[in-house]
Symmetry: C3
Subunit: 356 residues, 3 copies
């Protein structure tokens, strides 16, 4: 059932110190690992826990290796133990996975004018409209809907109950979690005499390769042009991406983030949970925004940005919030004090100095 | 395939300056429009771009008309170019749209005691419970669910995978985007000895005419009475409207807004993305709340309201947040300084003045 | 159709003062109740309204009873009128409820290797995978999906279009509102050279008894171990619970709350709408977090915590936000003033004092 440790290291790389014959049945955290598990140390704070782990094998860096005399099991040395852990976990997850059955489930409905690869697996309750294309080895989970002329690239997985609407496209090896909606109408209205007139949303959503989209996340179609999610972007759950946004390659966003219309976000950015970006802004590459922070102006320099009100006991917050409301007048009071002090203060102060 | 410019203007109004015989095939932004497109100028900042557009025709105001000598194509003059653009876009979207097929898809399930208009289109995977009424020319997208005794007004469109639950009602010409849930239970519990006892939610949701509801937005049913969404309200994606709220006519909310229970919101209000309104508050008509702002008290005067922490580089935020935590004592220190300065300052200050 | 008041009190407890023969047909708010309704007074501010109610019977505390001479109808005295109201409302809701039909709807699809109790009701469009177990008297709403080896405890109700994914478990008497996703993949990636490598999420979600989960709420499965929702937890709509969180028993969260990965939240806590908790934090029992507040450090003491920027007219906010940006230098200015005042101020001040 398991994997020979030597074979695992042959497959994933790294340097093995220890018995290659050990049978590894799975991966586990340091404190839960048993004698048939491999585990990993990526956070130096857990060094003591690593020393005491019962795991058969430990993934760690060369740096940690030299500081971890007490641990007696096998070691796998690598430059990036966390990435190695990810690949090892993928290995064991693949062993445990149920292979999806190729073909169209009898309880699915596929329009005769849709194209479904023979190797694709279409679950029960799925509905696929005319002109849609489902690539090789795709898995379309139960109850998902694929709209007209939508295109799903090879090896892409839609979990159950995804809406992937008309004319949207996703590349290869994508993953869309349950409940996500790709291609809802962008929120566009013109106001005329107090009434809102709908602006039809005629663009699509273009999603690159290796993109993951979280549960109940929504990505709207563009108004006249497309909303674009570039390669390698990772979006957590309940994120809202509005119409005409561009999310640069390999950017990652944690849950509940919102990005308003036409924002252009760079590559390799990260956004903490519930961060918000206003519309029509530009965010440079390598920008990192903390959780709960609202980006109200373009950010043209890489770096780490934050803006949330610090938490306090409610009674203290009531005091500080009251002062916040008066900060304009507080500044005036400090200015007045400075002026006063300067006005009558300069002489005694300079006298004294001169007198020394 | 296109529309004669003269016919478009006859249909939509405005004054045409130029050749009515031009064939217009679609609408495009200023910089992407080609010689068979109509485009529009509503933002004066884009005047230079408008002058250079390759569009066949340009929608603009009389004011811009007099300042735009360089542009040589046809012009359509109107008081509200953005609203005209919306209507023109609707015209071309309608030409491109696939006409939904009237009737009940063989892969839908409709309870024999439900009433479905002959002109309505019921998609595959739809489920409709007893007593529900689906009006003329409605479109119910694939996989949507209509609960018992729910009522959908004429010409209303539900995109795929909407939940429209028991006894809820929506008027005419409504649009509900994919994944929205109308009529989930309101969040009501009584606490007894640390345990929560559910208060059954026996009200419904009443939605007026011309309302649009975004993807994955949720509107809860009332506890004893109904939650009410008045005519012309526009809600973006991932909005949460709690039980017993009233949202006044023609109010618009951007993505991720939350409104807590029993809040009464006026007409013609706008809420920026992720704005929050606490429960049992009253918001007047014509109130505009900025993105990311929490409304914690009733707002009885129209106007523009804001409350979010300004973004900064993280290192600067750490400094300012530390001071925010001490603002109560900072105010004391300023008061103490004022007292001190006043106490001993008056004499030298007035002496000096007197001495001049 | 109704219930004899005496029978209601026999069933729910409390002391009846008045005619037990009155026929009660339902429950209504104080101002809407008519002569066949029972109503309740739990908020002392509504005492005047209670005095004027047309209800046949009024649920109230002994304390209010002694202060409410004017009201002439029947009274039900109880220690916790709001909890009594909840139970009475449950009674009338049960009378009005449509009994779900036991059995598997012909438009559902159930894998032959799934186990469905004979008393369970499986709606149209439902899909249930191999190895899933559906307990006695469960109701699985239309279009819901139950994954492989998922377990649904007895008397649990899933509203339409819920995703309850592979290997997740919920106990007895649970309620899951429409659109919720239980068991999406946690958001876990290792970064290697700017690319994100997926960490497979191999844990599940364990949900206790008497838990309610709101519409479009998402609860992610754990990475190596499980995400845990203990007994009696109540989650409102559009909440995001990340992987490996533990939510302690009887904790309640209002709409749009987000909890990042591996946070451990205590028992009997409450979170206001859109509150956020960062990852890996510990929150003690009996902690109450206000709406819109971000918890960025562990909270080890029970109490009420708040942190949101106070709302103001936009013009005032622009002033206060500008000062917030300069709070670091403002503190320096106050320090400089204090130093200055101290430096030259001590002498005249103490002189004066000594001179008196």
């Amino acid at each position: 059932m398991g994997t020979r440790l030597g074979d695992l290291v042959d497959s994933l790389g790294g340097e093995l110190i220890g018995d290659p014959e050990i049978d590894i049945t799975g991966i586990a955290p340091l404190d839960a690992a048993g004698p048939s598990h491999i585990t990993f140390l990526s956070n130096p704070k857990l060094r003591a826990q690593a020393a005491d782990t019962n795991a058969a094998a430990l993934i760690l860096s060369r740096q940690e290796h030299s500081q971890l005399a007490r641990y007696l099991g096998a070691r796998v040395l690598t430059d990036n133990p966390y990435a190695y852990f990810a690949r090892a976990a993928q290995h064991f997850a693949a062993l445990a996975a149920v292979t999806p059955v190729a073909g169209i489930h009898p309880h699915a409905w596929v329009d005769p004018e849709a194209t479904v690869a023979a190797t694709a697996s279409i679950g029960p309750g799925v509905t696929i409209e005319a002109g849609a294309q489902i690539g090789d080895h795709c898995v379309i989970g139960a109850g998902s809907h694929i709209g007209r002329h939508a295109v799903i690239g090879a090896h892409t997985l839609l979990h159950p109950r995804v809406s992937f609407l008309a004319a949207c496209r996703i590349g290869e090896r994508g993953i869309i979690q349950s409940g996500a909606v790709i291609g809802g109408d962008g929120f566009g209205f013109a106001n005329e005499g107090g009434h809102w007139i709908k602006i039809p949303q005629m663009g699509g959503v273009q999603i690159g390769n290796d993109v993951e989209i979280g549960a109940n996340t929504t990505i709207d179609r563009g108004a006249l042009e497309d909303t674009v999610i570039e390669d390698g972007v990772k979006l957590d759950n309940q994120i809202q991406i509005a119409h005409n946004c561009v999310i640069g390659a390999h950017t990652a966003m944690a849950g509940c983030v919102g990005v308003a219309g036409s924002a252009k976000i760079g590559r390799h950015c990260t956004f903490g949970g519930a961060a918000m970006v206003l519309g029509h802004l530009t965010i440079a590459d390598n920008v990192h925004v903390s959780s709960g922070s609202l980006v109200s102006r373009s950010i043209l320099e890489p770096g780490h940005y934050t803006g949330f009100y610090p938490l306090a006991k409610n009674a203290e917050w009531e005091k500080t919030a009251a002062v916040v409301r008066q900060l304009g007048s507080m500044r005036e009071r400090v200015r007045a004090l400075e002026k006063l002090v300067k006005q009558f203060g300069i002489e005694p102060y300079s006298d004294k100095k001169n007198g020394e």
